[in-house]
């Protein structure tokens, strides 16, 4: 019976952190919730009797991907600071403190120019 309660709480926490990671206003908060989701997912793998997957999920999903996403946020903020101080790109949404705004258009606006930057 206590196992069922634990599983229900774990499932609810998984859904809650996933929703929080997707719908959070700030990018940093979304990444932190994503790391928490990775750790809870590792617990879920243990409950599903797949300890190998739990080890891999904890190391890669929660650890490495979290570090990569935080790096990406730093990179985005850096580029937005550079572009805000220099030219105004046509799709630029304005001053740097708009970082905490709508994350979806941030991703689209910067995603379209990343390949061109890298190719330079």
């Amino acid at each position: 019976m206590s196992t069922l309660a634990f599983d229900l709480v774990l499932g609810a926490a998984l859904v809650a952190t996933a929703v929080g990671a997707l719908f959070s206003g700030e990018l940093f908060r979304g990444v932190v919730l994503f790391v928490v989701f990775g750790l809870l997912m590792a617990l879920a793998w243990v409950r599903l009797q797949a300890p190998d997957l739990a080890l891999a999920e904890a190391a890669i999903g929660a650890g490495l991907t979290g570090a990569l996403l935080l790096d990406a946020i730093g990179h985005l903020k850096r580029r937005r600071a550079v572009s805000a101080s220099g030219d105004r790109a046509p799709g630029d949404r304005g001053p740097v403190d708009r970082i905490s705004g709508d994350s979806a258009s941030d991703h689209r606006a910067s995603g379209s120019s990343t390949p061109r930057e890298v190719a330079e």
């Binding site: 300890p51 190998d52 739990a54 080890l55 891999a56 190391a59 890669i60 650890g63 490495l64 570090a67 990569l68 790096d71 990406a72 730093g74 990179h75 903020k77 850096r78 580029r79 550079v82 572009s83 220099g86 030219d87 790109a89 046509p90 799709g91 709508d102 979806a104 258009s105 689209r108 606006a109 379209s112 120019s113 061109r116 930057e117 890298v118 330079e120």
Partner: protein, 237 residues
């Protein structure tokens, strides 16, 4: 379509997919072949005593070989993304607590990785888990500012990246040359061969995962990234 409308559509599609999955899982037919029984019966021939390792490295070792090839491709792609921001960080100043933690933690992480590699033959563990821990240790060193080497175009880096795939391919070709089918290990050597392959895989997986972090475009304070070009035709909302 406005953002709220898009979210409603996505939510409706996800909910209907969830309901369909729930019903499909409930109505699944009993399989004609019981795979766990097959694996359990073949375990004495596998050379290890943990069934996941036996499946990954012996019964379905070809899939693992292809996975390692994919990881190596990932490292090549990460190398292609390398730019000026990935150069070595300037000399760091000493930070007492961080340094004390990192130099105590890193040998422990290497020891845990070696343990996971060794114990993979009889308990949950294996090459991927050990490689992930090694990669995490390297990322920790990098984040703390220690002068750990980069994964770039030097010869040593390239050898480290392809080492696992080369060893695995070498064993595969060896089995073919010995007249067996691809990756059919001789039973009395299969345990040793699995450990040998896994050791090479651990090194490569750790290096590949670290190279993903190392070669990703990074933003260091005070170093501007390359100037952004004007993106043409931003999609208008």
């Amino acid at each position: 379509m406005r953002a709220r409308g898009r979210q409603l559509v996505a939510g409706a599609v996800s909910a209907s997919l969830g309901v369909a999955l729930w019903q499909a899982i409930g109505a699944r037919p009993t399989p004609s072949v019981s795979l766990p029984t097959l694996v359990r019966d073949a375990m004495p021939m596998s050379g290890v005593s943990h069934d996941v390792t036996a499946v990954l490295l012996n019964f379905r070792s070809y899939d693992t070989l292809l996975e390692i090839a994919v990881l190596m491709t990932v490292a090549v792609v990460a190398l292609a993304l390398r730019d000026a921001s990935n150069q070595r960080a300037p000399a760091r100043r000493q930070q007492l607590v961080l340094d004390a933690l990192v130099w105590r933690l890193t040998p422990l992480l290497v020891l845990v990785a070696a343990y996971l590699l060794w114990i993979g033959s009889s308990a949950p563990g294996g090459a991927f888990q050990a490689g992930a821990v090694l990669g995490g240790a390297a990322v920790l060193l990098r984040l703390s500012g220690f002068p750990i080497a980069s994964v770039d175009h030097r010869f040593a880096s390239r050898v480290a990246v392809v080492f696992g795939l080369t060893v695995f391919l070498g064993v595969a070709i060896g089995t073919l040359l010995a007249g067996r089918s691809l990756l059919e290990f001789p039973v009395q050597w299969s345990g040793a061969l699995i450990l040998f392959i896994e050791a090479a895989l651990t090194v490569s997986i750790g290096v590949v995962l670290y190279s993903l972090f190392d070669n990703a475009p990074q933003a260091r304070l005070g170093e501007p990234t390359s100037a952004p070009s004007k993106p043409d035709a931003e999609p208008s909302r």
